[in-house]
């Protein structure tokens, strides 16, 4: 009987998505609200990244639960555009604050970009591994 081994990418993907979603909300969040309670535009970039992180987390869990390599590959392919879009949200899709020394530029943006790119690399590695598994399955 063929051993159904879980590749490390199956675990790393939901972990990174969780770090991205929760980290953006609580650790490397955007600039705080003004004294009058109003938010700067970076707050909405943070909310968008949080939402996208949650979407990636759900998809990553679906990926973890999927049995067939072909299905896993499909789910990973669906994740790719979301990851690219997430990396582009701070300052490109949604403009951040005026000075690059502010928290949204110096902490939130690099964290989101690095985590999204890491997620992108892991997803690509997963697609490669799934493809390999699928090819091996077809040969047998």
């Amino acid at each position: 009987m063929e051993k159904n081994r879980i590749s490390p990418t199956n675990i790393i993907m939901p972990l990174l998505a969780a770090v991205l979603a929760l980290g953006t909300a609580f650790v490397f969040h955007a600039c705080p609200a003004h004294d009058d309670g109003s938010f700067m535009s970076c707050h909405w970039a943070q909310q968008t990244v949080f939402g996208l992180g949650c979407v990636m987390l759900v998809i990553s869990f679906a990926h973890l639960g999927a049995n067939s390599p072909r299905m896993k590959m499909g789910i990973s392919l669906a994740l790719l555009p979301i990851e690219i879009f997430t990396a582009l949200v701070p300052n490109i899709v949604i403009k951040l604050c005026m000075s690059n020394t502010m928290r949204c530029h110096s902490i939130m943006r690099p964290s989101v970009v690095v985590l999204s790119l890491l997620m992108l690399i892991v997803t690509c590695a997963d697609i490669f591994l799934c493809r390999k598994k699928e090819d091996a399955k077809n040969e047998n």
Binding site: M40, S41, M98, T101, S106
Partner: protein, 413 residues
């Protein structure tokens, strides 16, 4: 030479050249642990070197940007280090003194040229902004700002035109509103690694108009003064053959409420702080390097001990003593190379994107070095990790080459 059977019974040949790689792949946990150590080593070497180089580049950049030998500011600003805060840390602030001070300084013996500068900090520049430092200069007399802004913007600045520092998130053509006065961003300046990156630059006419708007809006500093009679600082260039010390002493003794700050003193103070940070980073790098070498040497020694029977079998099937030693060295070099590359990539992902946070934390001028220097440092860091591998496994390689095959194989029975 060694042959092995694969799952579908095809024979493949394993040469001593391919064996080290196969050994590493077949033992993923062991290889991963050693990879992490090598990566950590190159990470610390590359990351530490980049921080030190960036601080040095920042200081050089500040020295080049100041341009003047002496800067004259109001007493109060000098006492509170306001000028250094604006120029180095990118703080926002403004202070003024009487314009006639600039004329008096210009007439002093030994002064080659003077140019007045005007500072103003905006309250807010739109819906989602923090205050912005505005620096005005006189295009006719300026010798400190224009030489370096010419690298990014060659045209003349018209009224209501602004040049944005590298840290200002505004694009060319964008309008910025300060004190109800709309200005247009006509260019973006290159990064200098100093507080000047957080400022916008404009000519004296525009900043005087902005100062008048601020006065109309009830600014407390400007309310009792006419903006046309004020300057914030006077940049002074000393004639060849004269000492900046004597000129600054003359200003400090003979001019009331004015303090002359020698730029060289400002630079030396910063150089001292930088040397402290660099020494600490260097010591940390060395400590990590030595610690990693010790841990790697222990790890290799333990691994070789554990693989004694494997080496004895290789000896029995014809591998020479030198082949075994070469195999151990090849394994450690491969680990060093891969770990070194991973470490440099990890350091790049941390040091460059977070340079803004690092700059803010250190409070010192910080400018990433040029691509050539980065590449050279990366190659050296990987090389350090590659050298560390064979260096730490050399003792184990010698030990394995002296292995008594018969004794090892009998030990197992």
């Amino acid at each position: 030479m060694k042959t092995e059977k694969t799952e579908n019974n095809t024979k493949i040949t394993v040469t001593p050249q391919r064996l080290p790689l196969k050994n590493l792949i077949k033992r993923p946990a062991r290889s991963a642990a050693l990879l992490v150590l090598s990566a950590f080593l190159s990470f610390s070497v590359f990351g530490g070197s980049m921080v030190i180089s960036s601080l040095q580049s920042g200081l050089d950049s500040l020295q080049a940007r100041l341009g003047a030998d002496i800067i004259a500011v109001p007493d109060k600003a000098a006492r509170q280090n306001d000028l250094e805060a604006i120029l180095i840390q990118g703080a926002k602030g403004y202070f003024y003194m009487d314009k006639t001070n600039a004329d008096k300084i210009a007439q002093m013996e030994g002064v080659e040229s003077v140019s007045a500068q005007y500072f103003l900090a905006s309250v807010s520049a739109g819906c989602c902004s923090m205050p912005v430092q505005i620096i005005g200069f006189d295009p006719d007399t300026d010798f400190s700002v224009q030489p370096w802004i010419k690298k990014s913007y060659t045209k003349e600045l018209n009224t209501d035109d602004l040049l944005a520092g590298a840290n200002i998130n505004a694009e060319t053509g964008e309008n910025l509103r300060f004190y109800g006065h709309t200005c247009k961003v006509v260019g973006k300046l290159d990064k200098t690694g100093t507080g000047l990156d957080n400022a916008v630059f404009t000519n004296s006419d525009t900043i005087k108009a902005l100062m008048s708007s601020a006065k109309e809006k009830g600014d407390k500093v400007l309310e009792k003064n006419d903006p046309n009679t004020l300057v914030s600082s006077v940049m002074i260039k000393v004639k060849d053959g004269y000492e900046p010390d004597s000129i600054s002493d003359e200003i400090n003794i003979h001019m009331r409420h004015v303090t002359a700050v020698k730029t060289q003193n400002m630079i030396s103070g910063l150089a001292q702080s930088l040397s402290g940070v660099s020494d600490m980073t260097g010591a940390l790098m060395l400590a990590v390097w030595i610690l990693s070498l010790i841990v790697m040497a222990i790890a290799f020694s333990m691994i070789i001990n554990e693989r004694k029977r494997e080496f004895a079998v290789l000896r029995v099937i014809g591998a020479s003593r030198s082949t075994l030693a070469r195999m151990v060295l090849a394994e450690s070099s491969l680990l060093g190379l891969t770990g070194g590359i991973i470490g440099v990539i990890a350091a790049c992902a941390l040091v460059f994107p977070f340079s803004g946070a690092l700059e803010a934390k250190l409070g010192l001028p910080y400018l990433s070095p040029d691509a050539g220097r980065i590449l050279l440092t990366a190659v050296l860091a990987v090389l350090a990790a590659v050298i560390a591998g064979p260096l730490t496994s050399a003792f184990s390689a010698v030990k394995i080459s002296k292995l008594d095959t018969g004794l090892i194989l009998r030990e197992g029975n």
